[in-house]
Symmetry: C2
Subunit: 280 residues, 2 copies
């Protein structure tokens, strides 16, 4: 049945994030929706799925007749202490042990709870993930992002919508697209980077793409990762250059892109916590 | 109820188009699916919808409990002679009166029939439209397109999937994305054009985008057009340059883009029949 409490917490998060993404209200709203989500998930059993991804194990949660998206069972712990998860939200996590594991658990919390309590809701898990990651960056950079950029065209002022854009104190700017998964839509990210480069100069905006996972559950309940590494290399060579791609559950085929030209810098998201100061 | 005959004709078209898009089997398969589709639609009544699009009237067809997508009732005639519609498929239509009207009717035939006989099938109308437009271009250019391009990278041969690409005799190449509607996904078209430009040189591929319509039926059964002209202008200025954008039901806000920099050439698709020779 629909979880009214979860729906209320989601609405509260959306409002707080819109008003002040880096602020205390957003932090509180994230803490509360994560706590409620983990409470939903902790009451379930996780059954193994057949993994077609080398080196990774996946399972899924069940609640009544509903099943969840695939869960990387080496990265997710439904019995983790909430204080570890709250440290991620609070921006105090950089020295934590097992940071990859806490990050993945917190990012999957609401998406799993939504899978298990609602039908056909593809939108709210993506929006939650965007608010969570946006909040982490906004706290780290101590500024809120915008979602529009001015087109520097002659004679009229026009703005167009973008992913999050941060303007930092030293005239550095960050372009931050955030996606639960990318699939064939990923070319949009490179295209928007090219647009920003074209409008405001190459290197003016550093593009950081943040993704949760590329898993896909087949009808036979086996799990694959959908990866297009040749396309990514071509986009990085010929469309625009992303500075980093961070994953909570990194596909090995994308991590390997670091090793061959054009050496796209794909990393576990935990790396951000150690290198954030060098990005700004 | 599902229309088995229509489903069989759709499968036959898909197979013929894959084997030889310009060929006689594809022409025959298009003729047959168009005839069956018009037979489905001609048995329905078209009821007016409230149009929020200045200068255009829209309606929708009903069959049992199903309703169709919006129909531009000034461009669609369900009682048109099949010979007029077949002339479009056969490539003998360039001197026809009311070409815009025959083009719109033939393009809407199967999408309407699918709306009225199936639930939740968003894919097959788009594929039909792609086969129809692809066939018209392949007949006109007397060559079949490919759907992959080789990435000219150093030391290894890699190909990636694309929209239709035609290699013409004079070393001219056409990049032909075909979309029922574009919405916010349209940036993909400019990104793929930029990719081709980057890989093979500016001007090597002429980009021709072909779209059916940008209508959207609201829940209250009124019709709007979803247009993003500022984004289009920014993409054309800063990402890549499309040579033409053709519409079967052209939105006025996109047609107007011709009049201001960067003067994107948006035209009714009928123009292609008169200018095809100058494109190649």
């Amino acid at each position: 049945m629909p979880n009214q409490k979860l729906a209320g917490l989601y609405s509260r998060l959306a409002l707080a994030a819109k008003n002040d993404l880096k602020g205390a209200d957003t932090r509180t709203a994230l803490r509360e929706i994560i706590a409620e989500s983990m409470s939903v998930v902790s009451g379930t059993s996780i059954t193994p799925l057949q993994s077609n991804v080398a080196g990774k194990r996946y399972g899924m949660a069940r609640l009544g007749s509903r099943t969840s998206r695939p869960i990387n069972t080496d990265l997710f712990d439904k019995n983790v202490s909430l204080s570890s998860l709250f440290a991620i939200v609070d921006g105090t996590a950089s020295s934590m042990n097992n940071l990859d594991w806490a990050l993945y658990t917190v990012a999957m919390s609401y998406p799993l709870a939504a899978d298990l309590t609602k039908d056909g809701d593809k939108k709210s898990p993506g929006t939650f993930f965007e608010h969570l990651v946006g909040h982490i960056f906004a706290v780290k950079f101590q500024t809120n992002p915008t979602r529009r950029v001015i087109v520097p065209t002659l004679g009229k002022e026009v703005s167009i919508p973008t992913d999050y854009v941060f303007e930092l104190a030293n005239d550095r700017r960050i372009h931050l697209p955030i996606k639960i998964s990318t699939r064939e839509r990923v070319v949009q990210v490179w295209a928007h980077q090219k647009l920003l480069d074209g409008m405001h100069g190459h290197g003016r905006f550093r593009g950081l793409l943040v993704c949760l996972t590329e898993t896909n559950k087949q009808q036979d309940t086996s799990v694959t990762e959908v990866c297009l590494p040749h396309q990514w290399a071509a986009y990085q060579m010929y469309v625009a250059q992303l500075h980093r791609v961070y994953y909570f559950d990194p596909p090995e085929r994308y991590i390997s892109l670091r090793n061959t030209y054009p050496n796209i810098q794909v990393w576990p998201f935990s790396k951000f916590f150690n290198e954030a100061q060098s990005l700004i």
